[in-house]
């Protein structure tokens, strides 16, 4: 680490310290704070200080003020003795947590704002991280991501799908679910209800598979061939208004047929003839759906093709959550109203009702006053609040504190020496 980098880190830490001194009263403790484990990622050495526990929110706030961590976490789990070693904590239960992170979603921006450098040969690239270095074949990289608006919009769409399932299918009330912006590239959804607390990892995995649609069989949702009048083979399937995944399969298929281009149909490996039939009769097919579903009424579209279409349609209805976070019953998750070390933005609660118009790049700003002079190495064009900045390349700029801090935290800029 260069002198400049150390200075930058120190600078960011000072800013974080300022925030925790002034905003300690806004720290929101998790329910049953005394049963939770806390963990803090420190600026120095990127060390995780774990197995902390606090009796009340005052102790927690004091700790944040003195420790000034880069990131603050608490356990989704409740423990009898949260400060003990893992095997001696005595697990009592855990909230059900969902994490939707742009990292796990293919986005229209193709992550062109992300950069990576191979740890082995130092070759650099832009966009989605390759599995192996194209030059030397090593799989380890130093990755610099960027929280872009397109990414977060994609994350929002996935979150909305998730929320629909949790409400309609699982019957969770808005009282039991809390939605948060993570402060970086996605959203967290916490379900706190007695009924889910005792679910083990296996049960949570089933919920994950449900949300993502892993193992979905259209056959088991009634997409089957039946013998109709005069022994003619008729395909029957779920209806648009059916509950749960049955309806989702129907709606997904409808939406897919509505929007699919011939190349989309080709991508799911339909036969040429089938693609032609579907394209030619698109309007009439969709019209007919209103009566009793499209299944089996289109000549030239066989059962196997329908299965492919339905499977793909269903896939578009699934919500791309991080599978590990939800299945882990000992997970540490970011504490609400604390700063994200990678952005200087804060994790904040998002009102469920106004979610669609929620603007993370406005609401999550923690530092609202003053400006900073920094030297930017490389930054894409970005927006924070109502202002748009960049792109910058090896330039000295004076930016509002929040924008400057974002670049500093992201490792895209360094502090300017004061003379």
């Amino acid at each position: 680490m260069s002198v400049k980098e150390i200075e930058t880190k120190k600078f960011v830490k000072n800013k974080f310290s300022e925030y925790y001194r002034e905003h300690s009263s806004s720290i929101q403790p998790p329910t049953l704070i005394e049963k939770r484990e806390f963990g803090f990622l420190m600026f120095k050495g990127r060390i995780m200080v774990r197995h902390k526990s606090f009796k009340n929110v005052d102790d927690l706030s004091k700790n944040l003020k003195t420790l000034v961590p880069s990131d603050a976490y608490y356990s989704s789990a409740y423990y009898e003795r949260p400060e003990e070693k893992m095997e001696e904590k005595s697990w009592l239960g855990a909230d059900l947590i969902f994490d939707i992170d742009a990292d796990h979603i293919p986005t229209p921006c193709a992550k062109i704002h992300d950069t990576w450098v191979c740890n082995n040969c130092n070759i650099a690239g832009k966009g989605v991280l390759p599995e192996k270095c194209p030059a030397c074949g090593e799989p380890r990289f130093n990755e610099k991501t960027w929280p872009c608006e397109v990414c977060l919009e994609s994350a929002k769409i996935e979150t909305l799908k998730l929320m629909d399932m949790l409400k309609q299918d699982f019957g969770f009330s808005s009282k039991e679910t809390n939605l948060y912006f993570s402060g970086h590239r996605g959203y967290h959804l916490h379900v706190e209800s007695e009924e889910v607390q005792s679910l083990d990892s296996m049960a949570r995995k089933e919920i994950v598979d449900y949300i993502i649609g892993i193992g979905l069989e259209t056959k088991l949702h009634g997409l089957v061939e039946e013998r109709g009048a005069r022994k003619a083979r008729v395909l029957t399937g779920p209806n648009l208004e059916d509950p749960g995944w049955s309806g989702r399969i129907a709606r997904g298929t409808y939406e897919f047929l509505l929007t699919a281009t011939p190349s989309d149909l080709e991508e799911i490996r339909l036969k040429r003839k089938v693609i032609d039939t579907l394209t030619q009769h698109k309007e009439t097919n969709l019209e007919k759906w209103k009566e009793k579903g499209p299944w089996g009424i289109i000549k030239g579209v066989d059962t196997a093709s329908w299965r492919k279409i339905a499977q793909h349609g269903a896939e578009m209805q699934s919500a791309k959550i991080d599978t590990v976070v939800t299945t882990d019953t000992h997970r540490l998750i970011r504490l609400n109203n604390t700063l994200h070390g990678k952005t200087g933005l804060k994790k904040i609660e998002v009102p469920v009702t106004g979610f669609e118009s929620f603007d993370p790049f406005k609401s999550a700003i923690a530092f609202k006053e003053g400006t900073l002079k920094i030297i930017v190495q490389d930054a894409p064009k970005f927006r924070l609040g109502d202002q748009t900045y960049g792109p910058y390349k090896n330039r000295q700029v004076e930016l509002p504190t929040a924008a400057a801090l974002l670049l500093l935290c992201k490792g895209r800029a360094k502090v300017k020496e004061e003379k």
């Binding site: 019957g171 679910l199 919920i207 979905l216 069989e217 509950p243 049955s246």
Partner: protein, 332 residues
């Protein structure tokens, strides 16, 4: 009550009879012993019930006897057999009776009349607790109708879930940490059962493997299934296929693979032999099958989590080859 002796009602009844272990009557002991024989020694299941009080009392006595053995495999087998007995009886019952039994386990369930073929709506957490232990695709939550926190189920599936609940319930009853002191006459019976079971198991004692098969080179998923099967754990269809295909591919003989499955409660030699030979390519299409790739195993929940070697391969056989290579290198 006599049919479902694990219910609280039956337990209360048995308590009222003030059973003292010293003076349990001969008929109760006989019935208890037979219950255990049915489970462990494949004795024919007695369909007709004996006198009600004998039937009810014989269950806690049998539980005590099995618990006293401290033998995990015996306990598992006994719990499974009792649960299956309950399943066979329950599936013939009317809906009201089934709803009575669910009270024992505090299930949140209600009858459904307006959504044929569904007969019950079960709260999803109760569903998950039991369904995650059953492997077929229809048991995945994603393949069920889930609405407003409830899973819609036909009668048969509801009863099948109850079987799981009963099995775990009895396993818990059997899981006694302290040593149980039995009067001599009862202890003698237990000893006899134990010996008969060991003799039966003797048939299933595993033979040594040829030198070529190196267990320490198994990938985690295979190791997990292998350990499970040798201690009598249930294994899913795809799990059995994967394990069998893996083992036959690393040159284990049909005989050895068949022997491996002997400790399973649903073991049928002829069928197992047929299936193993089929997978090994000695039958039917003569195709020698290989186990599924890692990503397929992941979807089917066979993957138990990756270790360092897993990260560099995409197939369990590739793992084995890779690990064997490093073992050989180390040996040199």
């Amino acid at each position: 009550m006599a049919k479902y002796p694990f219910t609280n009602e039956a337990t209360e009844y048995a308590k009222e009879l003030e059973l003292k272990i010293e003076d349990i009557s001969e008929p109760i002991l006989n019935r208890a012993e037979h219950r255990i024989e049915e489970a462990l020694l494949d004795a024919p299941v007695r369909e007709q019930l004996v006198k009600e009080d004998v039937e009810i009392s014989s269950f806690p006595v049998a539980v005590m006897m099995v618990a006293s053995t401290a033998d995990k495999l015996m306990k598992r087998r006994y719990a499974l057999t009792e649960a299956k007995r309950a399943f066979n009886l329950l599936k013939e019952e009317k809906r009201d009776k089934i709803l009575e039994v669910k009270n024992v386990f505090n299930w949140k369930i209600r009858p459904v009349d307006d959504k044929p073929p569904y007969k019950f709506a079960l709260f999803f957490t109760d569903y998950l607790k039991n369904a995650t232990r059953i492997q077929a695709k229809k048991w995945k939550l994603v393949n069920r109708i889930v609405l407003n926190g409830e899973v819609y189920l036909p009668k048969y599936d509801t009863v099948r879930l109850l079987q799981e609940e009963v099995r775990v319930h009895i396993e818990k009853k059997l899981d006694v940490k302290e040593k149980i002191a039995l009067p001599q006459n009862v202890a003698d019976r237990v000893e006899r059962l134990k010996q008969a079971f060991t003799k039966q198991k003797g048939k299933i004692e595993l033979e040594g493997f040829p030198k070529e098969v190196v267990i320490s080179a198994f990938p985690p998923c295979i190791k997990h299934m292998y350990d499970g099967i040798t201690s009598g754990h249930h294994l899913s269809h795809i799990g059995r296929f994967t394990l069998t295909a893996f083992l036959t591919n690393i040159s284990m003989t049909t005989e050895e693979v068949v022997n491996l499955y002997r400790s399973l409660s649903d073991f049928k030699e002829r069928l197992t032999r047929y299936q193993v030979e089929h997978i090994a390519g000695a039958r039917g299409s003569r195709t020698k099958y290989i186990p599924p790739r890692c990503d397929t195993l992941r979807t089917h929940g066979v993957c138990t989590g990756m270790d360092e070697v897993c990260r560099s391969i995409r197939h369990p056989l590739a793992y084995y080859r890779e690990k064997m290579r490093t073992i050989k290198v180390k040996a040199q």
